[in-house]
Subunit: 342 residues, 2 copies
């Protein structure tokens, strides 16, 4: 397999760097189902009020801040904003599971890092190889098939794979208050977009079912694809070559390329979302920028300024300085996750 | 200016190659305004019937070919399909006009090809430099500003620039029957997308006003952009470096990246659209693939298999072999363009 790894794009790896994150952290708590009222899982605190006040301002025709529905674009980071991201990005768990599935076809992996360590169950050693090791893992599992085949692989995985600490399906690691927020915004004429550093094709297969977000409203990192006729039938082949990294400076770039409109509201949880929030805030008229702050060690995980995953440091400073809304998961959310299946 | 021209992407230039196209061709004829009936500017011929039959099949709930509105995606090439493309792609006229505007800031252009020839009004010599010359012209006029600045430049140009042969505004060189088709499809729950080899940011500023197609439904070729803070204010700088060529094999790639759904219907006019039509046709259930055939030398231009611009050769063979709809502009369209302003 031809692994072309453009230096300039190695940033994708930063996204996924999860080495040495201690498998510590609290357990998720099952939330009780939300009622019919909007934002039912949000406590009646300042965060909820600021969201409601903004939505009312931009949707009330008599309001000076009124915005036509076509421009009511709300963008959401995924990892750490719509679903959890600890002890590492869930897409990395997917890559690890895929390495195990594919191992019989790759006998050479037994002696080849990082695959050998993954197969021994020694994740820490696997990830000790740093960016290069992680990119090897991603490319070995995310390329070499058609887009349709990859979609099936992701769908199958996401239906059964479970979080190693909570035992929940990964799609049950979503945040109930954010599901309600997505619905509340859509009920008010917003279109909700995901703008994720994760792979767009890793998210699309389940985003509509889980978040109500259709494929055309998912923006993410991408590998290159190539159009081919196979036995006269067209396919898009996924290549082991990074096409676009939708993180940090890439987020406004991706938003502009795909939507061509500036968002009215943006929600993130890490420094990787800061440029998206800055880009949103720089628009004319009322804009809403919001950080989800992981400060709930009891019900979820508590991390911010020094976390390897989901670091929120510069972004927190800027949010505080500019008066952006900072949601305390501990204080502002009545529950964290929807009820689990089991 | 740092002109990085990746060889692999030089294909963008093919898009824009317009050298030596004789300034021949017929004059556009003013169409009378369409009535209220759908597809009023279409003659009652087989092409119109095939469109109506398809739309009824996929929108009638009892029909075995019924398709939910979310999957009613129709994609349209722009140059030669929604508006004219002779004697050269209108975006090249834009580049030429911009070179004239920018010339005072570039005294060196007086002695530098292809700019010197453009400034002398000798287009044929300017384009004699082939791909490289054209890419120089495009990059000198499409990069080096922010996305917001470029949008303003395009909007100003498109409001006043006129076609050298017909004297119409370029936006009046659109095809009245296609405007009606866009509206007819939308009235039937379709979302209409442009998928153009032209620049996405060259089309977005006027696509909603002219075609009713919002920015997020325009897919096109792109230069790279870079997020920057200028005096603390975020901008996206347009770089003289090709990011994506949305032509030929690039069209299905662009559709998949931006929409993530396979189109239900696809409309093009050249071999550059063939892969988009193949990709559309390969979906399950009923699909509609259609070529607009420029065969009307009297009211527009007649060209197909050997044209430098908008060549339709392999695509025509495939359309005939597979029974795709081929629209004869001469026989199937009652009028070509909407009334001109003057």
């Amino acid at each position: 397999m031809n692994h072309r790894i453009p230096r300039a794009r190695a940033g994708v790896v930063l996204l996924l760097i999860c080495a040495f994150v201690a498998l510590s952290g609290g357990n998720a708590v099952q939330g009780s189902p939300a009622g019919d009222e909007p934002l039912a899982s949000w406590n009646d605190t300042g965060a909820r009020s600021s969201i409601v006040a903004f939505v009312e301002a931009v949707t009330t025709p008599e309001s000076p801040a009124f915005v036509a529905p076509a421009d009511r674009i709300a963008v959401f980071d995924n990892d750490g904003t719509l679903w959890a991201e600890q002890p590492m990005y869930f897409q990395v768990f997917f890559a690890i599971d895929r390495i195990r599935v594919l191992a019989p076809q790759h006998p050479e992996w037994k002696d080849q890092e990082p695959f050998a360590s993954v197969l021994r169950g020694d994740l820490q050693s696997a990830l000790a190889g740093g960016e290069h090791a992680l990119l090897e893992m991603i490319m070995a599992t995310h390329a070499g098939m058609t887009t349709a085949e990859f979609e099936d692989i992701v769908e199958d995985w996401v239906k059964t794979a479970r979080h190693p600490q909570t035992g929940r399906l990964y799609t049950e690691m979503v945040y109930q208050p954010m599901l309600e927020l997505l619905g509340y915004l859509r009920a008010n004429g917003f279109r909700t977009y995901i703008v994720s550093g994760g792979g767009v094709e890793f998210i699309r297969p389940w985003a509509e079912r889980v978040y109500g977000i259709p494929p055309e409203q998912v923006i993410g990192s991408r590998v290159k694809t190539r159009y081919e006729l196979r036995d006269g039938r067209p396919v898009l082949a996924r290549l082991p070559d990074v096409e676009f990294v939708d993180d940090k400076e890439g987020k406004p770039v991706g938003i502009h390329a795909q939507i061509g409109r500036r968002p009215l509201a943006a929600f993130g949880n890490s420094d990787g979302d800061l440029q998206m929030l800055q880009w949103t805030a720089a628009g004319d008229g009322a804009r809403f920028c919001c950080y989800i702050h992981h400060d709930d060690a009891g019900r979820e995980w508590a991390y911010d300024r020094v976390s390897a995953i989901g670091r929120l440091d510069k972004g927190l400073d800027e949010a505080l300085a500019r008066g952006w809304t900072v949601v305390s998961m501990k204080d502002d959310w009545r529950v964290i996750h929807p009820p689990a299946s089991e």
